[in-house]
Symmetry: C2
Subunit: 430 residues, 2 copies
């Protein structure tokens, strides 16, 4: 008999069925034992007469095979249960899990949950978050491919560490100093000269010793870069379309309710936009005029602006554009009308920076002067600068933090909850 998935059980009412999965939960009553079998697609209830099938001896998380009759039963979750069950243990588990998996949430502190990732990730609610992650990434790629983007793969071991001021991990590369790439920025720009439109989904590495719920030292960056734009507004429009596609895919996924996903409001309309200087004015009214001197937004400011966008525009999203040039990397394109401000933006999702992007410089001379002004030695960037020397169109792009996307989607309070195996100051295992 062919194995069916728990999600297919309802279609097989009245038939003999074969299921495989894990023993998720067990309740032993006087004359009957109720088992819950969990597979990758859900759970189902299995009813076993006491003492006939060995069901009472099977421990949670044992891998089991169940054959029996699928019977419509309104009281069973999903409306169908398996009766007259024959059970076979494929892989037994010992008693004494680090925590129960059958309860609505795991009753342990986050560090314990992360220490026992191999078990904790099996919890349906935790698992569901990563199913939404996979679906979101698929939608990201599909949306970009439909617009003519080429997927690229750029090196993570790089020779230079100074592109944006972030701290990089250093390694010994056959006797040379090398670094782990903090972003594919330089490569995706070079590749605009080849493919015009490129995207990459890959890990990025930051050696900053942050210890906050919103930072990790390794995360997945959804990068895109597009040529022949007018300015950053073309990039923002692209980002709106892409985020819309991701939200729809997550919303339609069967795991969305299980993950506790709260779908974004107003994702299908143009996102409200504030200039950085306007954002500071608003913030000054709340936090006092000291903020007017700030060159960047603090996390508390982002949260407040997120609330403002929801209150004022009914949107979970807010673009802040025109960050001061002084805090942006050397490749940032200035606003031609107000050159101390840039053609760059952040996208806030429920008050957290989800994405950053903008228009880049594209003329070779502009790179020469930008690097001279910032006292960046051009030598190590020769291969990058060659792209601009030999004809580059106006272009721009963005980078979305994948784990933050899922974090905000499900309302997790810590980025570690939406990272399979997080890497932080204190965590390198499992």
């Amino acid at each position: 008999m062919e194995r069916i998935r728990t999600s297919e059980l309802a279609q097989h009412a009245g038939e003999q069925v074969l299921l495989r999965g894990w023993l998720h939960h067990r309740r032993i009553l006087a004359h009957v034992t109720f088992l819950v079998l969990r597979d990758a697609w859900g759970t189902c209830q299995v009813v076993s007469a006491a003492d006939t099938s060995g069901a009472d001896d099977i421990t949670p998380e044992s891998v089991i095979e169940v054959s029996g009759l699928a019977v419509a039963e309104p009281r069973a979750p999903g409306g169908v249960e398996v009766r007259e069950a024959q059970l076979r243990v494929l892989s037994p588990a010992p008693a004494g899990l680090p925590f129960d998996l059958f309860r609505p949430t795991i009753g342990a502190a986050l560090p314990t949950v992360l220490d026992h990732a191999a078990v904790a990730l099996r919890h349906p609610r935790r698992r569901a978050a990563f199913q939404l992650m996979g679906a979101s990434v698929a939608a990201y790629r599909t949306a970009l491919r439909a617009e003519g983007f080429t997927e690229v793969f750029t090196p993570k071991i790089v020779a230079t560490a100074t592109e944006s001021g972030a701290t990089c991990f250093r390694l010994d590369y056959f006797g040379h100093v090398a670094y782990l790439a903090q972003s594919p920025q330089l490569y995706k720009q070079m590749l605009v000269g080849v493919f015009e439109r490129v995207f990459e989904v890959a890990p990025v590495f930051r050696a900053e010793p942050h210890d906050t719920p919103r930072h990790l030292n390794e995360y997945v960056s959804l990068d895109a870069e597009i040529g022949f734009i007018t300015d950053h507004r073309d990039v923002m429009a692209l980002l709106e379309r892409v985020v819309g596609a991701m939200a729809r895919a997550a919303g339609e996924h069967a795991a969305a309710p299980q993950a506790g996903a709260r779908l974004p409001i107003a994702v299908s309309t143009a996102f409200p936009t504030l200039h950085f200087s306007e954002a500071l004015e608003l913030l000054a009214s709340r936090f006092g005029s000291d903020v007017l001197a700030e060159p960047d937004l603090a996390p508390a400011h982002e949260r407040w602006l997120g609330e403002w966008a929801l209150r004022t525009h009914g949107s979970d999203f807010l673009f802040v554009v025109g960050f001061p040039m002084q805090k942006r990397p050397f490749y940032t394109h200035p606003d031609p009308a107000r050159p101390t401000y840039s053609n760059s933006f952040d996208l806030l999702f429920r008050g957290l920076e989800l994405a950053t992007g903008g228009q880049r410089l594209h003329r070779y001379e502009d790179y020469e002067s930008a690097m001279r002004e910032r006292q960046i030695e051009a030598g190590p960037f020769a291969g990058y600068l060659e792209a601009f020397r030999y004809g580059m169109p106006p272009h721009g792009g963005f980078a979305i933090g994948l784990e933050r996307w899922v974090q905000q989607l499900i309302g997790a309070s810590n980025l570690r909850e939406t990272t399979l195996f997080p890497r932080d100051l204190n965590r390198l295992l499992p």
Copy 2:
């Protein structure tokens, strides 16, 4: 006017059109100048009357905008050309490219080509290889998602380096020794306990000081792992389906002829399979009986077996199964009938190892004894072993080398030709 792509020109014959791209080539005749404009989708011919448009002064690789009349012209490549052209230079390029891009191939040695990647990758033939790469990866993911696989993202900074004997890059992680992951092997197995079927597309890192045309120190690995298998043959069947999907996607891509892709023979049928011991017998008849003592296949042996598969089975593919346990990593499942051989395999594509895979151990006790036998300290693997302690089904998986796939597809003699920015013993730039 809306910009059109060169690939759309034929649909617009008789209309005014606007194109943007790079000046790919220019021929100045007495009364007329022929330009070739290149964009991400192809090239088109632009005809400009002498001295009226400034066409004669534009240098190759300048970014240009062309507006004019699309006219059917049988002698033009693609059957349509642009006449009465108005030209505008968006980004000029200086004279003196490192090599010509308009010739059928780049007339420079590979190191020069790689040094000037930003320019060399613009060559239509080089670029096309990476368009096939992108299409192949998309097909890989689509095939697996259709079979219920979840895409996962696992850390590349890891605490242990001993999983398979490969040499790892070391880095300092906030005062701790860490390594760059040589594969997602341990994580994808742990995640079979969560999602049953997982895949990952991500960079892997090998610190081996190889200096060959078939090794790189960073490459993209297409990994998959599947639970509830009978044995390695289920994994091989999955790999056949996936490789078939990749071949079809590459074959249908518009860039396939440009890349010089030669599509695999017999990709839609079951691949021929040789047991390792049979392979050695065959090799002994050609290379002498010394090979019978070998625990692995040498590159020359793989090449010969590839020719044998084509000659004998009319197939570009060959599975070699049953490699001796002694050369395989600790998680390898032995062949129950002949325990010195393993349930693992290599897939050769035109005589080159394209993928490796097999069935894994799934019982906790088997891991305990395998690690004891190989004198591997269990401590650093505690988080991994927990997955097996708490119920893991029989499972297996494979890893495909993405750059090798494209290399063999287009018949490139060096893996560096199918890597955008290769990393090897001597190359860390660009």
